[in-house]
Subunit: 158 residues, 2 copies
């Protein structure tokens, strides 16, 4: 039962360990599978590339999209060694794969001092109540651009 | 009042309009400011680069981090023409700037058919109840990697 999926998850966890051992970043890995082919894979590379967005899922999604020449991953599965943080969960929703498999949880991540759980809590607060202060300015001017988008005839929606 | 901040926001909104007019992607822009210097800026480039993670905030954060050679944006402000989606909000928390200014809201984005508001709703659901099915497998093996991280002496935390 779930033998195929466990095979891909074991590879994902091995990626996480390898990335950690090689000093690429945190102990996380992700793989994108289409049919039975791996079309994207990465470990976390935040600290080795000075890129706070270089989580395993984001990098694996970007590689898979480059490979198939599309910004959509319909028909794909994503394997990740840990429950996606809000950034990666957002990236997954924008990429729209069919299914996600994860191993560790946000609570496990918190137990080894990663902020995933804190960010989940912050996201549910109104912008003005968050730890990083968020203030709205310039609303009227910004809305004019949205109206122009709504009326644009040659736009590519996503 | 807020004259300096409105100046940067006007530039951010101009970036959003320019990116839309040039067919780069959706009508969004973002700028990272340190002191009074712009150290990162981008419009949305999802459809022109086939990268679902190429939101304005993510690209501006990545550029700013490359420029200063750090995965942290302490001492910086981020201006974004729209309330960050969960992916970008997560990216902001990982980058840890001092403050965020936004113009349009997630409801405005929903009104022109972007999924921001839907993703906010999905994030608050338990993984198994989401529109994109999310299933936990391989927990024990993944936890061993987290334990190894906890015991690793030469790690760089983030």
């Amino acid at each position: 039962m779930l033998e195929r999926e466990m095979h891909f998850m074991e590879m994902t966890i091995a990626l996480a360990r390898q990335g950690m051992d090689e000093g690429m970043g945190g102990p996380f890995g992700a793989i994108v599978v289409k049919g039975d082919e791996i079309i994207g894979q990465s470990c976390n590379k935040v600290t080795s590339t000075n890129d706070p967005t270089a989580h395993a899922e984001v990098l694996a999604i970007r590689e898979a999209c480059r490979k198939i020449g599309s910004f959509q991953l319909s028909g794909c599965e994503i394997y990740t060694s840990c429950e996606p943080c809000p950034m990666c969960l957002g990236a997954i929703y924008w990429a729209r794969p069919d299914r996600v498999y994860y191993a560790s949880t946000r609570e496990d991540a918190a137990a080894i001092c990663f902020d995933d759980s804190l960010i989940y809590d912050e996201i549910m607060k109104p912008p003005a109540s968050r730890r990083i202060p968020m203030q709205q300015i310039g609303h009227a001017a910004a809305w004019k651009v949205f109206e122009a988008w709504r009326n644009k005839e040659d736009k590519i929606s996503y």
